[in-house]
Symmetry: C2
């Protein structure tokens, strides 16, 4: 399986997603600051993968600490938590992972564990978050696969794949799950400007698995749906509000509107850690505005004149009425989501 | 005014639209084959501009002919017409211009004019097509400007500007017309992958005129409409069927669906020469599929893995039910279009 992110003796190893598909380069982050920078600059991206990276970054911070007392270690740990939380605002998995690590730290410290014991405990928790993420992607894949027809042409946006998670993927996990059941699936991947996660990452990881993949520019999906060439849409999510509104990569909303217009099911696949019951609806989800250069340039090529302004919201919100179902590792939620999502979140795992 | 295409003693001069906005390079085509190649490779593009280029290319062919008799000249002329007609299939203005030049040739030859007289006559007709195109853009601008509120945030797709015409533009002509009336207009330009006509050309020519322009990636328009930041959409057209279905740059259909979903008026601006009453509806408009490289690369940068397929339809069809009005140089057509368009086309100019 594709190693998106791994913990080893030297630090946290990630495949550099900015360089794919041209080059397969692995980066080792040896400090939490390096992990934070990797998240911010999108060496690693994708809500679940960001959560895993943050947890590993926190474990790394504690591991490399020179603190001899728990109090000192705690001060350092909480400072690193702040650095990590400031990397990207939209994906809630980041905050979920930080909170989980904080809880474990507090428990260990509260139980009177030594500095060395806390280090081991946090490393173990970060590895657990990693492994659970793979497991939940596989479970999502199994649930979601039941929604895929025997022969299916699936449109996806951005990359909600192995590269966006600890492995296997959320939306692409659903596709992999369907393929594992012997279903005949071909994929249309929106290229997903400006960062081109669809063209660069989704196409790379799916064709690597032998899944038939066609890249289209983002503005082709309407015409291709109208031509009757798409049976279902499946995308990931960066944050799902309590009412089922979905924040995901910019352009997701457009795809959802098009799917509705053409009577095509629009599915969202995401782990429980992406559901944020504390956010009542999509209107309060913070949307990151990224650097203009992502829009003005592709590689070294400048594509806009200097006199033009540029916008670069990295995410948009799809209101729940466009979402046919939300696929999680604990099952499939349908409207009304404020009931079904709460039920899934509070379900004993 | 921006010189998109000009006739001079050496041949047909065009600004190379592949190189904008990085460089302002002018190309002189000295033979009809060079003009045909310029159309095919998109040195010049935009339905009205293609029509003008084709007419000038035909005049150029006749001018450079060594034929001493009308019969020989006619044989050569009709061969050049075929070369020109084979350049691009969707924009009907190409065929309209060729037909018009053929008609003039037949008239002149039928009236017993000499080879030299025919040469002069065809050159004059090509210049007339050029000048009429500018005039019709200005008329379109005046009609369309009445539809623009005093303060307006306008979304446009691709480039239906001075660069897509002999000057002034169709959709951008409407914007220029509104600005000339003193209306406060700001423009959002979809970047328009894969050829990036919005990012490269629309942003360049509008900011050059001092019009406030913001470039967005194609997948942002949905979110920006939902945020209430767009008052109207105006686009050009490559061919309008008798029933009002509109073929235009890929992605136009998506914008039209989004506009409808948000209750935003969706206007199409095009000259009468873009209306093809011989095409009953959009289903029979040929859609050009262009080279995959336009999608797989931006400049020298490869963005898709080699194993992935790619689609590159250059146009899509927007059904008439999404079109609020069609703005022509003779006035504004509204549904039912099969009546209103026929009325405009048959109107004495």
């Amino acid at each position: 399986m594709l190693p998106t992110i791994e913990w080893n003796d030297e630090g946290v190893v990630m495949i550099d997603q900015r360089k794919l598909p041209g080059a397969e380069v692995y980066v080792t982050c040896k400090s939490p600051k390096e992990v934070a920078r990797a998240i911010k600059t999108m060496v690693i991206r994708g809500a679940p993968a960001i959560g895993v990276a943050a947890a590993m970054g926190l474990a790394l911070g504690v591991r490399s600490s020179k603190a001899t007392g728990t109090q000192k270690l705690a001060t350092e740990f909480y400072r690193v938590c702040e650095v990590m939380a400031a990397t990207r605002p939209t994906a809630v998995n980041l905050f979920w992972a930080i909170d989980r690590m904080k809880r474990v730290f507090a428990e260990s410290a509260g139980a009177g564990q030594s500095v060395d014991q806390i280090k081991v405990r946090l490393e173990s928790e970060a590895r657990m978050i990693h492994d659970e993420d793979v497991a939940s992607c596989r479970a999502m894949g199994a649930h979601g696969a039941t929604l895929v027809p025997e022969t299916a042409r699936v449109l996806t946006h951005c990359n909600a794949g192995a590269l966006a998670t600890a492995g296997y993927g959320t939306a692409l996990g659903v596709i992999r799950g369907a393929v594992e059941l012997g279903k005949k699936v071909v994929v249309m991947a929106d290229e997903t400007r400006p960062f081109l996660q669809g063209a660069r990452l989704t196409a790379w990881e799916l064709t690597r698995d032998g899944i038939d993949t066609t890249v289209i520019t983002d503005n082709m999906s309407g015409a291709i749906m109208r031509a009757g060439e798409i049976d279902l849409v499946v995308v990931g999510a960066d944050r799902i509000a309590a009412n089922g509104d979905v924040a995901n990569k910019i352009g997701t909303y457009t795809v959802a509107v098009l799917a509705k217009e053409h009577g095509i099911p629009f599915y969202v696949a995401a782990p429980i850690s992406t559901i944020d019951l504390a956010t009542p609806d999509g209107s309060t989800i913070p949307i990151e505005e990224r650097n203009a250069r992502e829009v003005t340039h592709v590689g070294p090529t400048r594509i806009t004149p200097a006199a033009a302004h540029v916008r670069n919201p990295a995410f948009d919100v799809t209101p729940n009425r466009y979402v046919t179902a939300i696929i999680t590792e604990r099952g499939i939620a349908r409207a009304p989501y404020f009931v079904s999502l709460k039920d899934l979140v509070t379900l004993e795992p």
